[in-house]
Symmetry: C2
Subunit: 341 residues, 2 copies
DNA sequence: CTGTTAGCGCCTTCAT
DNA sequence: ATGAAGGCGCTAACAG
């Protein structure tokens, strides 16, 4: 049972003061050997530190600096592939900046978001990266009031005055719809959520616009599902779609696409014979099965990189005017696949 | 711009000493109003604290206590669905215990694992939940030496004497293989990794045993792939399998299954006509496409619950003999699907 | 060049 | 019932 070794131990062992040890260690971190200090003393201190397997106590350093070197990241659900991919990239980025990340999931509940924010703040996070959910406006505002660096991603609250990183949702949905139209579809139905989230609404707008431009304004149908218990609803929507003569679906999210496509197949219909499909984000499935559909990949890496860049600049106190970064979809691709399985 | 308020501010404002404030706040946290302190003084202090919107500085408290209320969780890759699902459940559990979680990914690199461990420890995590990777034995040992609560999940290092939560890999692979055999397959080939991970090895053993029991010892073939750049290798393995007359594949992980099945389809073969398939973990794809295969679901929730239970008991200092929890697969299911798409 | 001093914010004896 | 003092580990500023 070794008790933790501190600079004090090193100082005693090396016969110098703790301050000197600290100085050497600090400047060592910079990479270059500590100038301004005797080479020999430096070497000696370093050697002792190695021997004792010294690990600096970051908590103490944080107390001193008034920072925690930690960033709180709050998604709706980290097990959602879209977010877990971003999480991974954020983790990689954080490595560069020397931050550690605490993750949390709201499950689209503003109540949970509130608790998460409180916990993270009292833990002293230096900044927050948040995917806001429905009804989270006051919470977001309070974070701003408290002067805590904040970056919203994927979605925004209404009238949000701060920094954010979002997809060009309207353009993406527009493009997706156009692809479907180009394939000859006319009765294109969009499946979306009842939740009022900015990204969802923008996607709906993009769809609307594309339909209008194509003279298909009368065919616009947007089915909105609750976030929970979607399966049953999806089934009935598919059935109604058949009656309506719908020939294509545009799914507002990947989750919705998975649920929707499952429902289509479950009810005995097939893709693309009965319905053409367009959706957001690639899915492992698209690699395994050669399904013919249109999808766009959201630039997960950019979401991560841009939000980390913004948040670290904010934390560093670099004066920043409001930065609203709008990402463009990276790939718009039509599956050109065989239907083997 | 409000500067942070500390107990000192409250003390001054309330005309008492910081010690009293601290005492009140601390005992307040316990739920009951501070006994041993004048009711009025207590109320007064509390009121001032509210007015000033006092938030205790957890960093300072951590420094004092030498604990952080934080647990470090290190996976190989949090964007892997299996792990992100566990991450989600761990997050839910942590909520109950009052811990916050820091996640990290090793990418199967022991070097990264080492860095992650150092960072987390120096950040003062109270405990570590780790998915060890190849070559991580010394790192794991050093954690034990340093007397830091540790729980390994999914895999173990060789000779690991501590606490862990793992799947009954051998039985699962055995069962999976038997299903394939029951379907009439004889030349069943297993696809695995070159990495020497306990879970992988155990799965191989389960496969071996099942094959031997069925008198198919001569048909045992285990193809081992490197963890990176697998795609090209998979292609050639599929081609060789065709030449060998292989009639089924058992994939050692879900990632491998996705890659393998993609390769099968990519090379013009189909499932289950050309190859029967068995694998670990459900995939969204299985819901969308009606593919016929055999798979088992690993109990992600149990992985999370059991590891959190162990780690919190360890942190709480409850004397625990070594606990090695072996989870059984929850579902063993044969896809009974149509092949519509 | 090297060492000392003085806290960061909090909590816990030990007096009063 | 309350306050004063010391210290957790580290570092910046200030002597020596």
């Amino acid at each position: 049972m070794k008790t933790k070794v501190t600079i004090k131990d090193i100082a005693r062992e090396a016969g110098v003061s703790t301050a000197l040890v600290s100085f050497v260690m600090t400047n060592l971190r910079g990479g270059k050997t500590a100038y301004r200090v005797n080479k020999e003393t430096t070497a000696h201190i370093l050697r002792v530190a190695k021997e004792l397997d010294y690990q600096p106590n970051i908590t103490a350093r944080n107390l001193k600096y008034g920072k925690s070197g930690t960033i709180g990241v709050i998604f709706s659900d980290i097990s959602n592939p879209f977010f877990s991919e971003i999480a991974r990239y954020i983790e990689d980025e954080s490595w560069q900046c020397g931050y550690s990340i605490m993750f949390g999931s709201t499950d689209e509940s503003s109540e949970k978001l509130g608790k998460l924010v409180d916990v993270f703040i009292s833990r002293g996070v230096d900044g927050l990266i948040i995917v806001p959910c429905e009804g989270s406006d006051e919470i977001i505002d309070s974070i701003i009031d408290r002067n805590i660096p904040l970056v919203l991603i994927d979605r925004e609250t209404s009238g949000y005055p701060g920094h954010s990183v979002v997809l060009n949702n309207a353009r993406t949905a527009h493009e997706l719809t156009c692809r479907l139209i180009a394939k000859g579809c006319r009765k294109i139905e969009m499946l979306s959520y009842t939740m009022s989230l900015t990204n969802i609404r923008e996607r709906e707008e993009g769809y609307r616009l594309a339909m209008q431009e194509a003279g298909l304004a009368d065919e616009i149908i947007i089915g909105r599902l609750p976030h929970h218990d979607t399966d049953a609803h999806v089934d009935s929507i598919v059935k109604m779609a058949v009656e309506r003569g719908t020939d294509a679906f545009l799914f507002a999210t990947n989750t919705l696409a998975v649920q929707g496509m499952s429902a289509i197949v479950r009810n005995g219909y097939s893709i693309p014979e009965d319905f053409e499909v367009a959706c957001f984000d690639r899915n492992d499935a698209f690699g395994i099965f050669d399904v013919e559909l249109v999808y766009v990949d959201q630039p997960a890496k950019s979401f991560a990189a841009e939000s980390m860049k913004s948040i670290s600049e904010l934390i560093a106190g670099k004066v920043m005017n409001r930065t609203r970064i709008v990402l463009e979809p990276q790939i718009i691709e039509a599956g050109t696949f065989r239907s083997r399985i």
